[in-house]
């Protein structure tokens, strides 16, 4: 349940203690989205939140970003409340849809958060050029978003989330709508960006291999009520071409899969059914 490695912490990026969240409180369709969630994330750590639909992984991410309120418990984002952290622009966010604005060029999309943060034009342009270079889309700055492929659009969205250089990156299934090949390429690119920038990243996914490949730690969640049921440290070291094919990778995938199955009531009932036959 608890993470054992508290050695050499460069500081706590995220401290979540006893957080609960109930939707439609008092209604007949009341849903406990989060129940007593505790999680500490170190600076520079890559955490994946994984679990079946309704386990509260997206809700947790949105609570961290102050996009949804929580009912009880405490959250510290870089030592501040989520609302304060949002106002100070201490995190960047990327969603499953790239959500680029059609009426802006690719560079202007990346510059949007900078405009809102009050950067002047020359600094904005320099920064967007730098970020386009980072996501390898330098030639596409003047293109319109709809002229780009899904994977390219998502790279622009990631560049945009990094624009104000926030210490924390929140990612809600950013590769969920991409095909498998693009997805793997994007995963490598994200790891490279992470190495370059040293960001703390919270990554929501429901792909087990994706979570294992990307993360230092996989946080397994389960629904009704939404809660954390396991934390698995991934010890794959530096990722290479061969990582995805290594036995070690499969061991980690298996560990996450078993942690997921342990708390999945529907899976348990189907196994017992099979047992009867």
């Amino acid at each position: 349940m608890t993470s054992p490695n508290i050695v050499e912490t460069a500081g706590t990026a995220l401290a979540i203690s006893g957080v609960s969240k109930v939707f439609n409180k008092g209604n007949t369709n009341e849903v406990t989205a989060l129940s007593d969630v505790n999680l500490d994330v170190d600076t520079g750590e890559f955490i994946s939140l994984i679990g079946p639909s309704g386990c509260g992984k997206s809700t947790l991410l949105r609570v961290l970003g102050d996009l949804t309120e929580f009912d009880s418990g405490g959250i510290q984002v870089s030592g501040r409340s989520p609302a304060q952290a949002r106002k100070e622009r201490l995190y960047g966010i990327a969603f499953q849809q790239a959500a680029l604005f059609d009426w802006r060029s690719v560079s202007k999309n990346i510059e949007l958060p900078l405009e809102l943060a009050g950067w002047d034009k020359s600094r904005r342009e320099a920064r967007s050029a730098e970020l386009l270079d980072m996501v390898q889309l330098s030639e596409f700055g003047n293109h319109r978003p709809w002229e780009l492929s899904g994977g390219m659009q998502q790279r622009v969205a990631i560049a945009r989330s990094l624009a104000v250089d926030p210490p924390l990156l929140l990612m809600d299934e950013p590769f969920g709508a991409l095909d498998e090949m693009t997805r793997e390429r994007m995963q490598n690119e994200l790891l490279r960006i992470r190495l370059d920038t040293g960001k703390t990243i919270i990554f929501v996914t429901h792909s087990i291999p994706e979570a294992v490949y990307l993360s230092d730690r996989v946080v397994v969640m389960s629904p009704r009520p939404g809660r954390i049921t396991a934390e698995i440290n991934v010890d794959l070291g530096e990722r290479t071409e061969l990582t995805r094919e290594s036995d070690h990778f499969f061991h980690n995938v298996t560990a996450v899969r078993e942690a997921l199955r342990l708390h999945d009531s529907s899976a348990v009932s189907s196994t017992s059914h099979r047992g009867e036959i």
Binding site: R86, E88, F95, F101, D102
Partner: protein
């Protein structure tokens, strides 16, 4: 660019189709007249009621009144330009008012709840009933030396008809951004004003353009009808009434005024088309319009 050339050639083709349509209507008009001489039709096809196309065209060059230097065409042109001015004035006021209403209704839910029924009810009042009322009230208004004139009443009526489609369209447009875009703006700690100018307003363009088209048409209709019902001189509405009274002596004359009204509508449509191109030049070429 080949794209531009393509658009122009496509524009040329649709112009040809439009001309073909006009020729077809003219032919059917004349055929109906011929048919009327052969069999009994339920309507009058005499030269009095349905003058020949060529007499309509020759009416362009008739003197406006007996002995005057100005031709009917010149009179119609002047009247149509005057009406265009009034219609554009009313349209502009309508657009400004409609946009303000939409922004207020979008920002404050209680305004949407409280205002929207009145906005809708405003359009159920018949224009014919409204026109004398506005003129009556207007005549009592004066701001120091500036006296309310009936032309303001015409513009007011045009604006009254124009604001409605625009405010409804703009409201839908301002509410169009998807939740993800709004959350993105929230994550950037954007103010309500930034969200309005950088997200809601640009996102409303695909809804705004068709609303502008409907509004402009409403402003033209409003102007012509208001000119007739308020009796304002100088516009195409009044001219139509005057020429219609002369049908016994010069049946083709009124059709010149009708052509003038059509031209007025076309000019307004062209203005809106230009606005459309300007507003949507950065958007993908798929729209609601």
């Amino acid at each position: 660019m080949s794209n531009t050339r393509e658009r122009i050639s496509r524009g040329g083709i649709s112009l040809l189709w439009a001309l073909a349509g006009i020729v077809l209507i003219a032919i059917m008009w004349e055929l109906t007249k011929i048919l009327g001489t052969l069999i009994e039709l339920p309507f009058n096809t005499s030269d009095q009621a349905m003058p020949n196309i060529w007499s309509m065209f020759s009416a362009f060059t008739l003197p406006e009144v007996r002995g005057s230097d100005t031709s009917v065409f010149q009179a119609v042109l002047a009247a149509a330009s005057y009406s265009l001015l009034l219609a554009m004035g009313g349209f502009f006021i309508g657009v400004v008012v409609g946009l303000i209403l939409a922004i207020v209704m979008q920002r404050f839910l209680f305004f949407e709840r409280g205002l929207l029924p009145f906005v809708i009810a405003s359009q159920t009042v018949p224009l014919i009933a409204l026109a004398p009322l506005i003129v009556g009230i207007g005549n009592q208004i004066s701001f120091g030396p500036i006296q309310w004139s009936t032309t303001y009443s015409v513009m007011f009526i045009a604006a009254y008809l124009a604001f409605f489609p625009l405010s409804i369209g703009a409201l839908r447009g301002l509410q169009a951004p998807d939740p993800t875009s709004l959350e993105l703006m929230r994550s950037y700690a954007a103010t309500n004003n930034s969200i309005l100018w950088k997200l809601r307003f640009p996102a409303s363009i695909p809804y705004l353009v068709p609303a502008l088209k409907v509004s402009a048409a409403a402003a033209v209709v409003g102007t012509v009808v208001a000119e007739i019902s308020t009796g304002v001189r100088g516009g195409i509405g009044r001219l139509m009434i005057e020429y219609a009274r002369e049908t016994t002596s010069q049946p083709a004359k009124v059709y010149v005024a009708v052509f003038g009204a059509i031209a007025l509508g076309l000019v307004v449509a062209a203005i809106i088309a230009a606005i459309d191109v300007l507003l949507t030049k950065n958007l993908p070429k798929k729209g609601l319009a």
